[in-house]
C-alpha cells in the first residue's frame, strides 16, 4: 500500500496553535517532541541536531535544538518574536506559532495568538500556577483564542503524582472562571520522556483523557469562525473594460464572516446604500453561494459608487458605523504611546487617521488590576478611546475578530505600533 492511500489530503483541516511558556517550562522540548513523535522531523534536520547535541557533550539528542534560533539571535542574545513551524498528520495540518517566552512576552504572544485556534499553556508541575501562567491565560482570553490546553509538564519530576496534577488543574480552573475562559483541557505530560504528547507512555495510567496529539487532531474548529454576520470588506474593484466585459464591475475581497447567496440583499457601508447580489464570480466559475473564509468577486444589481475600504453586509445585524469607539490596545513599539500625536489605524481594508483621545486604564497583566495611565509602553495593554477621521464599520472583537481588530501605524516611521480590539459600544 502506498503512503497516499492512508493519507487523506482533500479535506484535511488546518489548525493553528500557539505554545505559551518559557524555555524553562520545556516548551522547545515539547515542540521538538511533537514534531519528532509525529515523524515530522526530516533526517537532515535530525542529523544536524544530533551532531550539535554530541558536540555539546550531551548523551541523547536534545530535541529543543530543533527550535534553535538564528545566528543573529545567538550572537546578540535576542529572540525574534514568532517562528512558524509546520507539520501534518493524516487527520490535520498544523501551523505552530512558536513565540519565545522571555521579555517582550506580551507582544510576542499577542502577535502569535492573533491567528490561533488553540493555545497550549505550559505549566511546570514542580512550580504550579505562576504569575506567568495567569498572564498567559489572560492574554488568551483577551485575544479570544477559542480553545485552551493546559499542559502540566515535567510530571516525571513529581513522580507522576496525580495529586499534584489535580491541584494545578483546580488552581487554574478557579482563576480561569474569572476570565470567562471556556473549552479548557488539562493534560499531564512529560515532554522529555514523551508521555502523553503523542504516545501515552506507561507512567500516567490514572489519566484517562486524550494525549495532546489526539486533542490537536480532534478539537472541533469549524465553529471558530462567525457564520452569522456577513462581512465583506472590498479589497479591489475589478473593471476589465474589455469588449466582452465592458460593463463588468466586480467587487473583490474575502468573506471575513458569514455567507452570501445570489439574490441576497446587501447594504454598503459606510454609505448605507442597498442592492442585491447579482453574481458570485470565482476563477472556477460562478457559484450560487459562498462562505467565510472564501475569497470571491461579487457583482450587484445596481450601479453604486463602491470602492476599496467599503464593506458589504447583509441589512440585518449590521456593524456600527462610527468615528469614535473604545478598544483594548496592546502596545508593540519601543516608542510609547503619545496621546498628542496622530496615528494611522488600519481596520479591514480601510486606513484612516486616528487620535487616541483617552486612556481609560492600563491592565497589570500579572494581577489583572486596572491602573490609571497617561501612556502605554511596549507590552502594555490598556483600554483607550479612539477618534478616527473617517467612519469605520465596527463589530465588537469578541463577536467578530475580522471586523473588531485593527492595527495602529506610526505615520512617521511606518512601523506597526499597536494591536487593537474593539470593545462593545456603550449604551
Amino acid at each position: 500500500m502506498s503512503a497516499i492511500d492512508n493519507i487523506s489530503f482533500d479535506h484535511t483541516e488546518l489548525l493553528r496553535f500557539i505554545t505559551a511558556g518559557s524555555v524553562d517550562d520545556g516548551k522547545s522540548t515539547l515542540i521538538g517532541r511533537l514534531l519528532h513523535d509525529s515523524k515530522s522531523i526530516f533526517e537532515d534536520q535530525l542529523s544536524a541536531i544530533t551532531h550539535t547535541s554530541h558536540r555539546r557533550g550531551m548523551e541523547s539528542v536534545d530535541l529543543s535544538l530543533l527550535t534553535d534560533g538564528l545566528q543573529a539571535e545567538r550572537e546578540q542574545g535576542i529572540t525574534i518574536d514568532v517562528a512558524y513551524r509546520y507539520f501534518a498528520t493524516p487527520k490535520r495540518k498544523f501551523i505552530i506559532a512558536d513565540t519565545p517566552g522571555h521579555e517582550q512576552y506580551t507582544r510576542n504572544m499577542v502577535t502569535g495568538a492573533s491567528t490561533a485556534n488553540l493555545a497550549i499553556i505550559l505549566i511546570d508541575a514542580r512550580k504550579g500556577l505562576l504569575t506567568q501562567s495567569r498572564r498567559h491565560a489572560y492574554l488568551a482570553s483577551l485575544v479570544g483564542i477559542p480553545h485552551l490546553v493546559v499542559a502540566v509538564n515535567k510530571m516525571d519530576l513529581v513522580n507522576y503524582s496525580r495529586d499534584v496534577f489535580e491541584r494545578i488543574c483546580k488552581d487554574f480552573s478557579t482563576f480561569a472562571k474569572g476570565l470567562k475562559l471556556n473549552n479548557i483541557a488539562y493534560i499531564p505530560m512529560s515532554a522529555l520522556n514523551g508521555d502523553m504528547v503523542v504516545e501515552r507512555g506507561d507512567k500516567l495510567d490514572w489519566y484517562e483523557g486524550m494525549t495532546l496529539m489526539d486533542l490537536l487532531e480532534s478539537v472541533p474548529i469549524d465553529h471558530d469562525i462567525n457564520l452569522e454576520d456577513f462581512r465583506f470588506p472590498v479589497q479591489w474593484v475589478c473593471r476589465p473594460q474589455t469588449e466582452e466585459l465592458h460593463d463588468f464591475r466586480g467587487y473583490m475581497g474575502r468573506i471575513e464572516s458569514g455567507f452570501i447567496s445570489i439574490g441576497d440583499a446587501v447594504k454598503v457601508l459606510p454609505s448605507g446604500l442597498t442592492s442585491r447580489i447579482k453574481e458570485i464570480v470565482t476563477y472556477d466559475g460562478v457559484v450560487d453561494d459562498a462562505v467565510a473564509p472564501q475569497s470571491v468577486t461579487l457583482t450587484i444589481e445596481d450601479h453604486l459608487d463602491i470602492s476599496r475600504g467599503d464593506m458589504l453586509v447583509k441589512p440585518v445585524g449590521v456593524p456600527v458605523v462610527t468615528n469614535e469607539f473604545d478598544a483594548m490596545l496592546c502596545w508593540l513599539s519601543e516608542q510609547s504611546l503619545d496621546p498628542r500625536r496622530k496615528y494611522l489605524v488600519k481596520h479591514t481594508t480601510r486606513t484612516v487617521k486616528a487620535l487616541i483621545s483617552r486612556i481609560d486604564y492600563r491592565v497589570d497583566v500579572n494581577t489583572l488590576n486596572h491602573e490609571a495611565a497617561d501612556t502605554l509602553k511596549m507590552n502594555d495593554i490598556g483600554r483607550v478611546s479612539l477618534k478616527v477621521h473617517q467612519p469605520l464599520a465596527c463589530d465588537p472583537y469578541q463577536r467578530n475578530h475580522a471586523t473588531g481588530s485593527f492595527i495602529v501605524i506610526d505615520e512617521v516611521n511606518n512601523n506597526t505600533v499597536a494591536a487593537g480590539m474593539i470593545c462593545p459600544a456603550k449604551d
Partner: protein
C-alpha cells in the same frame, strides 16, 4: 480581584437575524468543501489583492519553478477576469535549465501578461557582479540583479513564492517583509504582523517582499498542482540523467558541472525537487513520473527540500539568513 473588563462581556447574537439558509446547512457545506488547501488559497488571494491595492508599483517574481507556477494560478484566481495589476519579473541567473526557460515563455504567452527579464549576465558585464570563477553558483548574486531591477522600475513590492517550511530563517520572516533602501532584511527589527491586517507602508526607496504562500509546505504545493492540474517543467518528473555524486548529493552533468578527479559520471533515474541555478541544484533519485507519484514520495520523504537539493544552503548553518540580510529573496 478586579479582572473583568468590557472585552469579556458576552454579546448576544442579534435576535432579528433572518436567513433563507440555515447556518447549520452552511456549516455542513464548509465542512464538506473547505479543506486546508482552500484555506491556504484564500489566504494567498487575499494577500495578493492587498498588495495590488496598497502598493504603487508591485511586481510578481516568476522563475518557472513549481512555487512560482502556483503563484501564477493564485494571481489568476485573485484578478481574473481582469488583467494582473503587476508585471512578472524573472531574475535570470544564466545558469538555467533550458526546459524551464522554454516553459516560462510559453506560460507567460498563455496568460497574456507582461514579463520583464533581467539577467545576471548583464550585471556581470557591467561589473556589478564579480565571480570567482565562471562556473561558480550564481544564487548568492541574484540579489544584485534583483535590487538593480527594483531600482530600475521603482518597484515598491516584490511578490515571491518563498515558503516558511523551506529554511529556518524563512520560518521567522513575515508575510510582508520590509526591506530597507539597501534591500536588506533585519531579522530583529521586523514589523509585528497580527491577524491578517498587513502594514504595506514604505518610504520612497524602501520596498517590501511579499510571500503569499508563506504557510504552504512542499506537500501543499504539489497537492495544489494536482488539484489545479497545473503544468510543470518536465525535469520535475523522474527521467534518466547523467549525474555526479558529490558530498551527500547528486549534481547534474552540464557544461557548468564536470567530474573532477575521483568522480565518475552515472546515469540514474532522478527528478528535481527545485529548479534553481543549474550548478548547485541537485536532483534526487526517484521513480515518480507524475504528480500523484511525487505527492506520494513527498509525503513519505525524510529529507527537507533544501537539504536534498541545494548545495549552497549546506555551506553553513546560517547561509540563507546571511543571504537574506544582503537582499536575497
Amino acid at each position: 480581584m478586579e479582572i473583568l473588563n468590557e472585552m469579556e462581556e458576552s454579546v448576544s447574537p442579534d435576535p432579528g437575524f433572518v436567513t433563507k439558509t440555515e447556518p447549520v446547512a452552511i456549516k455542513r457545506r464548509i465542512a464538506r468543501h473547505l479543506g486546508h488547501l482552500d484555506a491556504l488559497e484564500s489566504e494567498a488571494i487575499h494577500i495578493m489583492r492587498e498588495v495590488a491595492a496598497e502598493c504603487a508599483n508591485p511586481a510578481l517574481l516568476f522563475s518557472g519553478g513549481k512555487d512560482s507556477i502556483v503563484m501564477l494560478r493564485l494571481a489568476e484566481k485573485a484578478f481574473r477576469p481582469g488583467r494582473f495589476p503587476f508585471p512578472l519579473l524573472h531574475v535570470d541567473t544564466g545558469h538555467n535549465f533550458p526546459e524551464v526557460i522554454e516553459f516560462r515563455d510559453r506560460r507567460v504567452k498563455q496568460l497574456g501578461e507582461r514579463l520583464i527579464v533581467r539577467s545576471m549576465e548583464d550585471s556581470i558585464r557591467q561589473g556589478r557582479v564579480v565571480l570567482r570563477s565562471e562556473n561558480q553558483s550564481r544564487n548568492p548574486f541574484q540579489s544584485v540583479t534583483l535590487l538593480d531591477a527594483i531600482a530600475e522600475f521603482c518597484f515598491d513590492a516584490c511578490i515571491g513564492g518563498a515558503r516558511r517550511d523551506e529554511e529556518k530563517a524563512r520560518a521567522k520572516e513575515r508575510i510582508f517583509s520590509f526591506r530597507d533602501e539597501f534591500g536588506q532584511w533585519d531579522p530583529k527589527n521586523q514589523r509585528p504582523e497580527l491577524w491578517d491586517i498587513y502594514n504595506t507602508r514604505v518610504h520612497p526607496g524602501e520596498n517590501i517582499r511579499v510571500f503569499p504562500i508563506s504557510n504552504w509546505t512542499e506537500l501543499d504545493v504539489w497537492e495544489y498542482i494536482a488539484r489545479e492540474e497545473l503544468e510543470v517543467p518536465h525535469i520535475y518528473f523522474a527521467h534518466t540523467r547523467d549525474v555526479i555524486r558529490r558530498g551527500t548529493g547528486l549534481l547534474p552533468l552540464s557544461h557548468l558541472v564536470q567530474p573532477v578527479e575521483g568522480e565518475k559520471v552515472e546515469n540514474l533515474m532522478v527528478r528535481f525537487r527545485t529548479v534553481g541555478d543549474m550548478s548547485c541544484t541537485c536532483p534526487v533519485e526517484s521513480s515518480a513520473v507524475n504528480v500523484g507519484e511525487i505527492i506520494t514520495e513527498t509525503a513519505i520523504t525524510r529529507i527537507t527540500e533544501r537539504g536534498a537539493t541545494r548545495m549552497d544552503d549546506q555551506t553553513s548553518d546560517a547561509s540563507m539568513e546571511r543571504r537574506k540580510k544582503e537582499g536575497y529573496f
